[in-house]
Symmetry: C2
Subunit: 367 residues, 2 copies
Amino acid sequence: MEKVIVRLKKYSYPIIITSGLFNNLEVFKSLVCGDQVMIVTNDCISKLYLDILKTQLIKFGVKVDQIILPDGEKYKSLETLERVIYALLINNHGRDTVVIALGGGVIGDLAGFAASVYQRGIRFIQIPTTLLSQVDASIGGKTAVNHVLGKNMIGTFYQPSSVIIDIDCLKTLPEREFSAGLAEIIKYAIIFDSCFFNWLEDNLEELFLLKYKAISYCIRRCCELKSDVVVADEYERNDKRVLLNFGHTYGHAIEAYTGYDGSWLHGEAVSAGMMMAICSAIILKIFNKKDAVKVKKLLLRARLPIFGPKNMDKKDYLFYMMKDKKNISNKMRLVLPVSLGEAKIFSDITDDLILSSIQNCRSLFLF
Amino acid sequence: MEKVIVRLKKYSYPIIITSGLFNNLEVFKSLVCGDQVMIVTNDCISKLYLDILKTQLIKFGVKVDQIILPDGEKYKSLETLERVIYALLINNHGRDTVVIALGGGVIGDLAGFAASVYQRGIRFIQIPTTLLSQVDASIGGKTAVNHVLGKNMIGTFYQPSSVIIDIDCLKTLPEREFSAGLAEIIKYAIIFDSCFFNWLEDNLEELFLLKYKAISYCIRRCCELKSDVVVADEYERNDKRVLLNFGHTYGHAIEAYTGYDGSWLHGEAVSAGMMMAICSAIILKIFNKKDAVKVKKLLLRARLPIFGPKNMDKKDYLFYMMKDKKNISNKMRLVLPVSLGEAKIFSDITDDLILSSIQNCRSLFLF
């Protein structure tokens, strides 16, 4: 078992990385901190883990309720939030109840938002079941639902009381989703840690084989890197946390354009988005092409797309990027790498730079 | 102009109490802290103050958008929240925008909630226009919308960046709403400040006449008392803030029973609720009847009801009180006065005590 402590000013919480969680009574004991829990999950994950999680919790005398939501990004909405709130109220959950988010990023974001607003805030525990949510979404306290006009436009900063990661969940994860998780992992390496980038180059096959030593180290390293950022910038008020948006400004445009219909997973959009951001960095002459090729190769080995949707015009990117919430007062900002292991925020990005980044991305990397 | 500073750990914000606000350029200068604002108001208040507020803000070069909602507690809902979020997104409001809540408690709670969740939190300014919101709802950072199954069940703790109170707004306030505000003012006196209670007995007529000296002192004193509580207990985690619920557990039951249809204003329900709580305190022999009569007389002089709805059965109270969010794990708690100027929280309140408080309230105070 590995443990990373997120040391925030007001309080700290643990991220536990383990295997065999659902048969491990000891870990479950730490979950029990009230008389009541509400498990929020989706119809895919519930078939795999809900019964065993409930059985374990009931052993400790906890009253367990559940809400099973349809799977998919399009259910990360105010309407679904209302369903969770309804389930809490109709089952008489008081302020001392605990919401357990059992699922990927969608479930974590939605259940976390519900926990943050139900009776102005109740405890919640994350049990992320996808690689992406294990290394990113479940850490850092960002909760949200989507609006028709933009992704993650409604949400809060709200920290979980603990995050419990079971590596065994990855055994049932579709390969495409595993790759999507690798996109965020590679992102951490590019913006924060060149040694970790080298480690990924050397150990990618081990990760695909779900070797415990490699995968638990990899998840722990990502949790450490993200935790450092969150501690330095809990509410995204200084520039530290903004760095995590590397690849996301372009990537969100892809997701918005394709309407969150599942044709592009978040990690896939981030992967293509990172290559576009790298292209911007090359045009600005702040990043060298040799390292760009290293990134491209690693993304391809991770079975990730390096270009956006074929039918998406460069003007479509601009339209959705202008709407992106990271832009303060309509001034476009981008996170760009300056070397492998370091990224910076660049303000006053021109429309021209974006248009030519998208235009040149294919030709630059078609080699 | 009077000023009360709410000194929280993370930051402080001012409550400004003044008159002639809407013609006072100086006060408006302090409002301007971005390029964009979104005024959230209702169709009653907008007729009185929206044009002049907009004119003043535009003078400072601020881009002003507005959303005018229907008036009434029933619009404090997730559906209306969605409308506010939509207005912010469709008008391209970024993270540096400011929401201005222009109206009473409903507008303040709703606009504050919208500000707290829009892009995970933007600044907001309260301009409360009712006596109730000036002394209570606009201070302390509680935001919320209602759910069909319970009042204020969905919300956040989120502080405004300033509160600006214009006493002149009270000139256009219906008399019934003025009295409803007095209920919360009398509540502060009962639970925190016996001198203030005496002052209210001596100055009630001055308040009804809207004499500047009396009304500005009264509002300032309430803001100070509430501010002390909020500073000591920002997130309602210790018992200090719970004291503010005096009269509210019974009162919320009245509001829930009557379906927030306007037949009982919040302050009216609190007034009747305080008398029921005092009745509980008398039955428990912790409060003397002589002081109870003083409270009753002051509430009647303030033109407030001292009994609940005639057709509401004592079992109806119990049903809705069990649902009240201040009850931790179904154990009933009540805030009860122990003398004029002091209240305490009592746990393990029995159903019998509640039933006999309601049953005996009329006979105890029909003299």
